[in-house]
Symmetry: C2
Subunit: 414 residues, 2 copies
C-alpha cells in the first residue's frame, strides 16, 4: 500500500515552521504495517493544492491530507480535493445544526462562514472531531481498478491525534494488509560514531529485511531498527534477534533499548540503589541539573547542587581552595575533582559530580583549547576524572559534557 | 516564479528524521525574492522519484532536488530526474579523472561505483562541490514556453550550504525577478497569546502585502513579518512601518526586533549596566542558569548560583530558614523571596532570582496545584514576587517559569 501525507498550510513554507504532524502519522502508520512513500507540504493556494492532490491521487493508495479544514477563506482543502477527485461538495445540514447549537450554548452567534466546515466530499463519511469543530472526512473509492482511501484530517495536533486514536486507527487497521512492523531503538553513550558504525555495519547488513537508521548526536549514537513481516510476532522476533546481536557487540555502551533517555536511566539506577546525587557545574552552567530534573520524580534521587560559574562561587559553594585555582587554573583535573568530592560532602550526597571546561567560543588558549572539559565523579570510596576535548560550538561542547557526566554516573552504578 | 524543494532520502520518511535543509533553502530563496510553493520528501525508490520529478516539472519553474547524489546504489536522483526530463546521463570524464586523482593522493584505490557521481544530465552544467565528491548540477531549459531551472544539490548540510553560498546563490540572484523580500521578527515576553493576537490583528490586517506569521511558545509570542516589493529598500520600508506600529501597540512586552533571544537581551542589559546576576532555582532545576550560560561571554555578568532541589539545600546554599519552609511550605511567596534575596547576598551579586514551584506531574494539591510557581527578584533596594499558574506538562511549566524569571530581570533593568 503506497501511502502519502500532504500537509496543508502556508506557514510550513516559511523558514520558521515545519510540518511535525507527519512524524506522528508516520509512526502510527508504521505500527499497522504501512510505510510512507511521499510527504508533501503545500500552501493555502487553491491551484497548488489541486495540483498536489492530483499527483497524489495518481500515485498513492492512501492519501492523508492534514490542515486547511477550518472556517476561514484560507481553508481550501475541501474544495481543492473535491476538484481533483471530480466530485461535488455537499453541505451536511445535521453538522450545521450541531454547530449552531454549540455556539448557542455558549451564547455566541455563529459566524456564517463556520458552516463551510460542514461541506463534505460526495461519497465521503464524516469523521467526528471531539476536540474541535472541523470534522474529518473518509472517502473510499475504486480508482483504476485499485482501492483508494482519501482522508481529510484537522491540522491542530491535539485534534488530529485524538481523531486518529479514536476514529481513524480502528478503521484503517481493518483495511491494512496483514503485515506488521516492529521497531527497536538501541541507545549508546559516548561511543564514537565512526567506531559504532564500523563495528555494527557487518551485523545489521546480515539482516537485509530490517531497516537500520543510525542517528548520532553529542555523545549519543542510536540504532533505530524496523522489521516488516507477515505478523507482529514474526516482526518482533526478527527485530529482537538483530537487537541482541547489536547489544552483544556494543556491550556496556548500550544504556537503553526501550526508548528511555540517558537522564531517565541514570534516575532509575539511582532510585533502585537508593542513592542521592549532587552536582557542581561550571562550563555546563546548569545543563546537567536541568537534564536530571527534567525527569518527573527526580527529587527522589537528586538533591541539587551549585552552578559555580565564577571562581569565587567555586570556593563559596564547593570549597575549592583559591590557591588551587590559581596554581592549576579553574579548568583543571584538580578543580574538577575538588568540585565533585566537595559538593558530595557538602550536600551530604552519595555521589558527587564536578564539571569544569571551556565551552567557547572565547577563552581558549593553546594549552587549554576550546572544547577541553574535565569531568569528575566521586562516591566517597572511589573517584574518577576524565579529560575530554569535545568538538563543535558552545552548545555542542556543553551537550557533550553533560552526556559524559551522566554516563559517568551510570557507569559508577553498573 | 514557482519554486519547489524536493528532499530525497528514505530516512526522512521514518518517524525519526526530518528534512531540515529545506528551512535553510527557504530562507536563502526568500532573501532573493523567491517564495517556496511546494516541498516534497521522497525515498530512495526510482519509481517514486520519477513520479515526484514529473509532478514538479509540470508545475514549478525552479526545482531544487537535494540528496541522492552519492556513489551507492541507493543514490538515484540523477537517473530518475534524467528519466523524468527525458534526457540522457553522460559521464564526465574530467570529473572521473579528478576523483581518481584525489583517491590516489590518499593512497586508496577508488571503488568503481564512485564514478557514478560524474554522470551529468545532458545539457546541465556541473556545479563544483568543495566539501565532498558529488558535484551539483544546474540545468536550464525552456519548457512549455517557460524558462525552467532544475538543480541537483548534495544532501549533507555542510556541502549543500557551501555550494549554495559559493555557486548557486550568485547564479540564481542574476536570474531571479527583480523583487526582494524583507523580514522582521518581533519577540514579546509573557504576553498572553490571545491578547497578543486580538491587539495586533487589526494592525497587521492593514498591511495585506505583508505576510505575518504569529508563533507562540511558553511565555513568548513572536511576529514574523515578510514583505515583498520591487526592490530591497521598498520592502525594508514596508516591513519597518508595520514593525513600528506593532511595537507601539505592544509596548514594553517587546524585548527584541533583531532576532535576539530573551537570554541574550538580558545578558546585553546586564553587561551594559555592569550588573552581576545570581540565581537560586528549585522547580526549574538549573534551566534558568542553563539558558543564561548558553550565551557566549555570560561569565561577564553571571556569577552562578544554586540548584536547591531538596529543602536541605534551600537552607544550606540560600539560607532559607527551615521554620519558614515548615510554616509556609517550600512552594511559597516567602521562600521564593528568601531565595532571591539570600542568593544575591551570599554570592555578592547585584540581582538575585529565586524560583520555587510545582512542575508536576506529581506533587500538586488542591491548594497548591501543578503549575503553581513563585518567582522572586531582588536588587537589594526593591524586590518583587510573582505568583503564576502555568499550563501544560512538566517541560512547559519549567519553560514558562524560566521565561518569567528572565523577563523579571529584563524589566528590573528597564
Amino acid at each position: 500500500m503506497i501511502a502519502e501525507i500532504v500537509a496543508v498550510g502556508s506557514e510550513m513554507l516559511t523558514p520558521f515552521r515545519q510540518d511535525t504532524n507527519s512524524l506522528y502519522l508516520t509512526e502510527k502508520l508504521n505500527e499497522i504495517g504501512i510505510n510512507v512513500a511521499f510527504k508533501t507540504v503545500v500552501g493555502d493556494t487553491r491551484q497548488h493544492l489541486i495540483s498536489v492532490a492530483r499527483a497524489a491521487l495518481e500515485r498513492s493508495d492512501l492519501i492523508l491530507f492534514m490542515g486547511g479544514l477550518g472556517p476561514t477563506e484560507d481553508d481550501l482543502t475541501r474544495e481543492s480535493v473535491a476538484e481533483a477527485l471530480g466530485v461535488e461538495l455537499r453541505r451536511n445540514h445535521d453538522l450545521v445544526a450541531a454547530m449552531y447549537k454549540r455556539f448557542a450554548e455558549r451564547r455566541i452567534s455563529m459566524p456564517q462562514n463556520n458552516a463551510r466546515q460542514a461541506d463534505i466530499l460526495s461519497g465521503a463519511e464524516v469523521i467526528p472531531n471531539r476536540r474541535g469543530t472541523a470534522p474529518g472526512q473518509w472517502l473510499q473509492r475504486v480508482h483504476d481498478g485499485r482501492e483508494q482511501i482519501v482522508l481529510l484530517l484537522p491540522g491542530p495536533p491535539h485534534e488530529l491525534q485524538a481523531m486518529w486514536e479514536r476514529e481513524v486507527f480502528p478503521r484503517l487497521q481493518q483495511l491494512a494488509p496483514p503485515s506488521a512492523i516492529a521497531t527497536r531503538v538501541i541507545k549508546t553513550a559516548m561511543l564514537p560514531e565512526s567506531a559504532a558504525d564500523a563495528r555494527t555495519a557487518p551485523i545489521y547488513k546480515k539482516y537485509p529485511n530490517i531497516e537500520t537508521t543510525v542517528l548520532a548526536g553529542q555523545g549519543q549514537v542510536e540504532f533505530h531498527l524496523r522489521a516488516t513481516a507477515a505478523d507482529r510476532m514474526e516482526a518482533e522476533e526478527l527485530v529482537q534477534r538483530l537487537s541482541d546481536d547489536l547489544e552483544d557487540e556494543l556491550g556496556d555502551a548500550v544504556f537503553s533499548t526501550s526508548g528511555e533517555s540517558l537522564e531517565e536511566i541514570v534516575g532509575l539506577y539511582l532510585q533502585m540503589r537508593g542513592l542521592k546525587l549532587a552536582v557542581a557545574e561550571s562550563c555546563t552552567g546548569g545543563l546537567v541539573a536541568e537534564r536530571i530534573t527534567s525527569v518527573a520524580g527526580s527529587s527522589r534521587y537528586f538533591l541539587g547542587g551549585a552552578v559555580v560559574y565564577s571562581n569565587d562561587l567555586k570556593t563559596l559553594f564547593a570549597d575549592v581552595p583559591p590557591l588551587m585555582i590559581e596554581a592549576q587554573g579553574a579548568v583543571s583535573k584538580e578543580v574538577a575533582l575538588a568540585l565533585a568530592e566537595n559538593i558530595r560532602d557538602i550536600c551530604n550526597a552519595d555521589i558527587g559530580l564536578g564539571i569544569t571546561g571551556i565551552a567557547g567560543p572565547g577563552g581558549g588558549t593553546e594549552e587549554k583549547p576550546v572544547g577541553l572539559v574535565y569531568i569528575a565523579i566521586s562516591n566517597g570510596q572511589k573517584h574518577e576524572v576524565v579529560e575530554r576535548r569535545f568538538p563543535g560550538d558552545r552548545e555542542r561542547v556543553r551537550r557533550w559534557a553533560s552526556q559524559q557526566a551522566l554516563d559517568l554516573v551510570r557507569r559508577m552504578m553498573m
